[in-house]
């Protein structure tokens, strides 16, 4: 389950930033996750509690800014929101598309003390 790798990546980023700021722990962490980022929110939340034990994130509040996916049709230029990677254009039914939004997987901000 790669959600554990993701959690470890987040912890690593948080630890570095907290140390650099000469602080000891994180109160709030804000993530940005797109619906096509390949991360199951439930799985991430499931591994989170165990993963953050004894780290700067142990007592942090986790806030997730979930981004819906958007694509631009390469045939008719319609911009549409998509639920699945294989959704087609609602106007012309084409599968040829450019994904504009939904691949985000970022630590947006940290509140450290």
């Amino acid at each position: 389950m790669h959600e554990l790798s993701i959690a470890m990546g987040i912890i690593n980023i948080a630890k570095k930033e907290t140390e650099k700021a000469n602080k000891t722990s994180v109160e709030l962490i804000e993530l940005e996750i797109g619906s096509l980022a390949g991360v199951e929110l439930e799985s991430l939340e499931y591994v989170w509690e165990t993963a953050v034990k004894n780290t700067v994130l142990e007592n942090a509040k986790l806030e997730i800014d979930f981004k819906d996916a958007k694509a631009e049709c390469l045939e008719c230029n319609t911009i549409y929101s998509m639920k699945k990677m294989y959704d087609s254009c609602p106007k012309c039914n084409s599968y040829f598309k450019n994904i504009l939004q939904g691949k985000e997987l970022r630590v947006k901000s940290l509140e450290v003390i």
């Binding site: 790798s5 990546g9 602080k23 087609s88 997987l105 947006k108 940290l110």
Partner: protein, 264 residues
Amino acid sequence: MCGVCGCGTDGVSINKPHQHEENEHQHNHDHDHDHHHHHHGDKMIIDLERDILSKNNVEAARNRGYFEAKNIFTLNLVSSPGSGKTSILETTLKDLKEKFPFYVIEGDQQTLNDANRIDALNVPVIQVNTGKGCHLESDMIYDAVKQLKPKDDSILMIENVGNLVCPSMFDLGEQKRVVIISITEGEDKPIKYPDMFHSADICIINKIDLLPYLKFDLEALKKYALQVNHHLQFFEVSATTGQGMDTWYKWLETELERNKQKNS
């Protein structure tokens, strides 16, 4: 536990076939960055906007630079467990190893089994055991390549951990990604696991020798896969009988030549 790959206390080990499993877990965790700080009394807000996979992506870029400089054509083979990654490698190596210099990196959670199968063909191979990890990451490839020492102008085949989900997110620095699906898995896999098919360059459909025994709709599989990735190119093969393997070899040779032009 490694703070990045979350690979568990049993860690990652990188071994030549028949070698004792020694722990070779090195990671380079440094990078620099700019961002903004705001202070509110003792509290401080750090605006980061940092990509969580940035560490792996930076290391993948480093691998890619190395491969380009040495003109090593690198493929990342991904599939569910048992689709036939190692079998396809074995048949390919048997048929082409006199023609091109090959190197192989095998990724599995446990055992040296796959590396031993490649070693039996006298092709240089390194086994990466990921322990609890469900995919290969770029730093493991970096460490494995340091041991493997591939020659210039060679082909490096990386067999990822059998898993149709996680490896899709981790660039290894490969030139091309090959997704393998066998016809015993069902035609709707591409829409059930779209990320893997979305991120692949070509799709090898394996075990076609079993077509007469199964109700499998090849055209439906391709249709689903193209819905997820309209660039995908298909090769229908049987690693066991060798049927269709020549079309994949032809692709390999064409890409090898194209890669050489690009790197020279």
